[in-house]
Symmetry: none
Subunit: 417 residues, 2 copies
């Protein structure tokens, strides 16, 4: 039983977009324990799509297609698959209804070319798309070959995969030996330093332990192969506990845990509230905090103090401090934290002021210099200096600043227990 991934779209051949769908599907197949040995990318061209179907159908028992399900003439996936297997397309009334409803919800009329998206082979099942107009299909055109199609829009594809494809694959008895993993997340320690600390675990066979690094975060993936999730978790747990103990405060959480969710959980447990005052991040920290559903239980809001005027009038920063020390200084960060804590009457507050670049640097203050401050329920304010370097670029500096701020609050919450 092997699967194969075929991504269709001339934009992939032109390099206009990154093929993140292939990575997502590859991870998902690995998690299900369904082997796949080949991925192919092909453009919106009938004879070439036929060519790759011919090759893949000789090698694999499951073919997963992404892309080419849209309403325009260059969207060929469904018709190419059907014509390869000499099967006519029929218009499914329930798809038409679904598309019409989606247009109606947005106050628009369905256009004629959307009818094309309702055409699938008679014996194919609809793979419903909750948000977009392009449904996929699950179809067995010949014995021992199952085809699944997905649109190219990643958010739609992922939802359809989780909601329908996984249950379907499992119902077929595929993915019986599962690979189950826990992604453990760390902050404030480098990949190599963490790797040295847990070096003795890298030789384990089941579960395996492997390091990953992404921007501002180091991860360890602890993965076990077992008959079911419960057995896998039993294998994973003692190893995960050992790693937690080794990493101490640098361990943040696992899987879906984020800095914002971990901090939010701690605030909720303590019944404490938080506000923010943001300059260079411009709302990014507030946005990160409010990614968490239910964050209104502890996050009251904040001031985006992008201009000095707002820092003075809304946060009570003294004009002479701005003149003497500059907006990017520890003392201004502290005043911002105090100001928003008082104004919003919260237990905690975080402030951020820095130079995200590319402009704005001075002789003594380079791009990437950031001050942040945290005010605690005892009205004490701690400030921190970050030097993120000039070469990372504006986006990374802003993102990392919000991450650092949340990590500092996380550590203060731990220490302030």
């Amino acid at each position: 039983m092997t699967a194969e991934i075929i991504c269709i779209g001339t934009e992939l051949l032109l390099g206009d977009i990154l093929n993140s769908n292939a990575q997502f599907l590859a991870q998902e197949l690995a998690n299900l324990g369904i082997p796949h040995y080949y991925q192919t990318v092909v453009g919106d061209n009938l004879s070439r799509i036929h060519e790759v179907i011919k090759i893949a159908s000789q090698r694999a028992q499951i073919i997963i297609f992404t892309g080419g399900l849209g309403p325009t003439p260059d969207d060929l996936t469904t018709s190419a698959i059907a014509s390869f297997f000499d099967t006519p397309l029929i218009e499914k009334q329930e798809i038409i209804e679904d598309i019409r409803n989606k247009f109606a919800e947005r106050g628009r009329e369905m256009t004629a070319n959307n009818r094309k998206q309702a055409l699938i082979p008679e014996s194919a099942d609809i793979l419903p798309n909750l948000t977009g107009t392009a449904p996929g299909m699950i179809w067995q055109p010949i014995p021992n070959l199952t085809i699944l199609t997905f649109p190219g829009v990643p958010s739609e594809m992922k939802q359809m995969w989780s909601d329908t494809a996984i249950p379907f694959l499992k119902s077929q008895g595929w993915g019986e030996e599962i690979i189950y993993s826990r992604m453990m997340r760390f902050r404030g320690i480098g990949e190599s330093a963490l790797a040295q600390k847990v070096n003795h675990l890298f030789d384990l066979q089941n579960p395996t332990v492997a390091p990953y690094a992404s921007m501002g975060e180091v991860k360890l993936r602890v993965a076990a192969k077992a008959k079911n999730i419960q057995s896998a978790e039993k294998l994973i747990l003692p190893v995960a506990k050992e790693i937690e103990a080794i990493a101490g405060e640098d361990y943040v959480g696992y899987d879906d845990d984020t800095l914002a969710s971990v901090v939010g959980k701690m605030l909720l447990e303590r019944g404490e509230t938080l506000s923010v005052a943001e300059s260079c991040t411009g709302g990014g920290l507030g946005s990160m905090l409010t990614e968490i559903a239910g964050s209104s239980n502890y996050f009251m809001g904040g001031i985006i103090a992008y201009s000095n005027q707002v820092k003075i009038e809304q946060l009570g920063v003294l004009e002479e401090f701005l003149t003497e020390y500059g907006a990017v200084s520890a003392i201004v960060a502290r005043q911002m934290a105090k100001g928003v804590q008082k104004k919003f009457n919260t237990d905690w507050s975080i402030s951020i002021t820095g130079i995200a670049g590319p402009g704005g640097a001075t002789e003594t203050k380079p791009v990437g210099l950031v001050y942040l401050a945290i005010a605690n329920p005892e009205k004490q304010v701690e400030s921190y200096e970050l030097r993120l370097g000039e070469k990372r670029g504006r986006e990374a500096i802003r993102y990392l600043t919000s991450c650092y701020a949340l990590d500092k609050l996380r550590r203060e919450l731990i220490d302030n227990r």
Copy 2:
């Protein structure tokens, strides 16, 4: 003359890494005007690598390989290519010297397994790697087939491509015509509706016009083939102008233009300022606006009014309106916009209040219901109701809300000229 890309590495099949090499090479081939119709990913497995070489060598005249050039036993690329074409490998003394020197520079001794990286077919040319130990090769194993190999590390691969592969390909007379494109961006119109309006342009041969869709945005790619960029631009311009005229206000900009940059440019030209009051987006709109370097020239800041208390105290929203109409209502949105405009003394302001979900819905107010309001320099306030649907999820609802808000401001700025 067509090329094909083959990426080798089990880590790609496990989804551990994103295949950014394929995107880079795709863009480069497009820029050189060398067509490529297929990309394949295969793991570190001899017979399966042979299988993909067999298929690609029947379809293409240039095959570009990435990955599998390292010193470990699972690095099979060079030996697999050579054995497919029945050619022995020989040890190239100059590669050994180069690797030894690189180790010496770092004060280390070359390890025995690095000798493997010096093995290439006798008639192959070395494709030098300035930074890493893995050189590639340029080899013509049979008439009308040229093979180029690169390591999988993106930085090394890119440097080798620019330094050696491009000059080589041009010296062969390939890549003399370039493909140059403009990505035109639209809002407020669906992919199918836009496609119908510009339907007559889809049959053009040079430039070509093709539609793309991503979340909340529709794009048209206008691409021309020509001797140089200037000639390509001459071909693109009249078509782009025609599309602009057809799309009217729905046309936002092209290439690197974003809603935030387009709005920012308009505000800057008019010498006007902006503030925001955000509830459900929690700072996301401010963050989007401040992605633009220099946004401090027109964006003053804002209030993240996540709690009702903040709406009342900081923005002057009347408590009885919150009780009577609820926080998610047009009237509260209008008061928020007025409140922040006054408080921050800006020409324009945007406010957002909505239900991002998954909780928070009531009988009359579903998840995805959002009100936004825009106050203009004449202190007039216009409010808008969005119904984004319950199924998109919190993240998409918040992101789309910020996009809609910026798009509404963009349209008001156009109308208010």
